[in-house]
């Protein structure tokens, strides 16, 4: 097993309920693997099994080259942002990170240094001594990501990191996710049910449905497998739009639609709220 994450026939049952069935996949070092699926598809259970919080009923897996039987060693090499993670309200962001860094064996000074670096990395450097109870949801999620990085993990599991965030918060979060893979070289497993996030961010996707993996590959591969292309998208400068449409019409090309990029509601929302 040499991939950053490798699962072979992983199954998790709760009595007669099969939460994850025969899950097999690999994720390479430095890649962002999107784990997609509807609610109840088994995404969170799969992540909890891979992060050693839950024991698999059947199957084997390895994370960072460590077999699942050595759970404590796996935990030293991974970072996790759990779904609906809670935070101690009476601690400051800085205290919270220092405590977790200490739990990973860092010295007092080392914990202080890593907390400062990570708070800066996730954009919380201006609020290190604010109580977590005063943080917004987006700030808590970013603090959670910072906590997931205190041990410089080889593999990072993020379970619905953009849940409940506004579009600006989602964009900020995805930028952090990309940086984790690009600058730290860590493998990221990003669980979400927002397809746009995956298209923008992930190198490959794993789709789960009712506990089973139904697709694994790049976005283009998975899309191609599911359906034949129905339309092609062509990009031209906004100023040339009318000329391009006329040229296509003259060439007897059927035009299904045309829109200006940057003129969608989400673009307008971001422009207005970020400028304010």
């Amino acid at each position: 097993m040499s991939a950053a994450v490798e699962a072979r026939g992983v199954e998790k049952r709760y009595g007669s309920l099969v939460a994850v069935a025969d899950l097999s996949f690999e994720a390479d070092a430095g890649e962002i693997l999107g784990v997609l699926g509807p609610n109840g598809a088994g995404k969170t259970t799969a992540i909890r099994v891979l992060t050693t919080i839950l024991a698999p009923t059947r199957g084997t897996f390895a994370v960072a080259g460590i077999p699942h039987t050595r759970a404590a060693e796996i935990r030293r090499r991974i970072g996790v942002l759990p779904e609906s993670a809670g935070y101690p309200e009476h601690q400051t962001g800085d205290e919270y990170l220092r405590y977790h860094a200490r739990l990973y064996g860092r010295s007092r000074a080392g914990a202080r240094a890593v907390a400062a670096v990570l708070l800066d990395e996730v954009g919380l450097a201006d609020r290190p001594r604010s109580l977590i109870s005063t943080y917004s949801r987006g700030m808590r999620q970013r603090l959670g990501i910072a906590r997931a990085l205190v041990n410089e993990p080889q593999v990072v599991f993020l379970d619905e990191p953009t849940l409940g965030l506004d579009p600006a918060g989602q964009r900020q979060m995805l930028a952090i996710v990309r940086r984790i893979a690009q600058e730290r070289g860590a493998t990221v497993l990003l669980s979400t049910h927002l397809l746009a996030e995956v298209e923008e961010t992930c190198t490959r996707v794993l789709i789960l449905n009712r506990g089973r993996a139904v697709a694994l590959g790049t976005v283009a591969e998975v899309a191609a497998r599911a359906a034949a292309p129905r339309a092609a998208r062509l990009s031209v400068p906004a100023a040339d739009k009318e000329r391009a449409l006329r040229a296509l019409a003259a060439a007897d090309v059927t035009i299904l639609g045309a829109e200006l990029e940057g003129a969608r509601l989400s673009d307008a929302f971001l422009a207005m709220t970020e400028a304010a």
Binding site: I53, I78, A85, Y87, P88, H90, L103, R147
Partner: protein, 254 residues
Amino acid sequence: MRVVTVQELRDLWLGGRGLVLTFAFSLLLSVVAYLVATNRGLNFLEHRETVNLLLQVAIAVGALLALLAAADSISGERERGTLESLLLTPVSRLELTLGKLLGALSLWLVAFLVAIPYVWFLARGVGLTGDALLTGAVVGTLLAVFLASLGVLISVFARSNRVSLSLSLLLLLALFVPTQLPSNAQQGWAGDLLLRANPLTAGEHYVGKVVTNGHAWTADLSWLVSPLLCAAVFAVAALAVGARYIRLGGGATG
């Protein structure tokens, strides 16, 4: 383990919960001390009995505080959604359990320190301060370890904090039931066995024998067997069970 314990102490004492509970405890002791020192009805109590009464209250309430903190230890983390992050760290579940247990026991330690001046004030006239404090420290520590371990055990399995706290208090009340039995029911071999087997009543009797009856502290050591056994057995059980059964969702399976 040291990191977890230090954080538990910070959360408990700098977070304010420990200070509020200790303040309430000192208020209670003040009221009891004032009543036994000034109330005409209570003044009929023999001097040694007033010291015994105050010490019994300090031990019972101090140990109760440790039980409350322990009952919140694991189920509280579970309910606040912070347990998963802790379980993901390399810290073993045994270290986590021990850190939580020591954090809870700090409440008893502080409660006892708070009780010292009250005991000294009431016991100074009869030269009883040293014996009363030593007896209180021994019995109170044994009962606090027993009750805090019981609280941790319940907290490991409880799916919610409410269940953990309710069950812990219910068991504590059940342990206090024999003290409410009529005195003739507490006599005979069955009554004696009941009092000796129950760590709370056995501890209470031992304190009474030393403080009220003026027995040497070595004279009635057999009354300490139950508190000592319960403290040792429950502490080991809490650590063993915590090391094996702390799970994200609570319950016996996971």
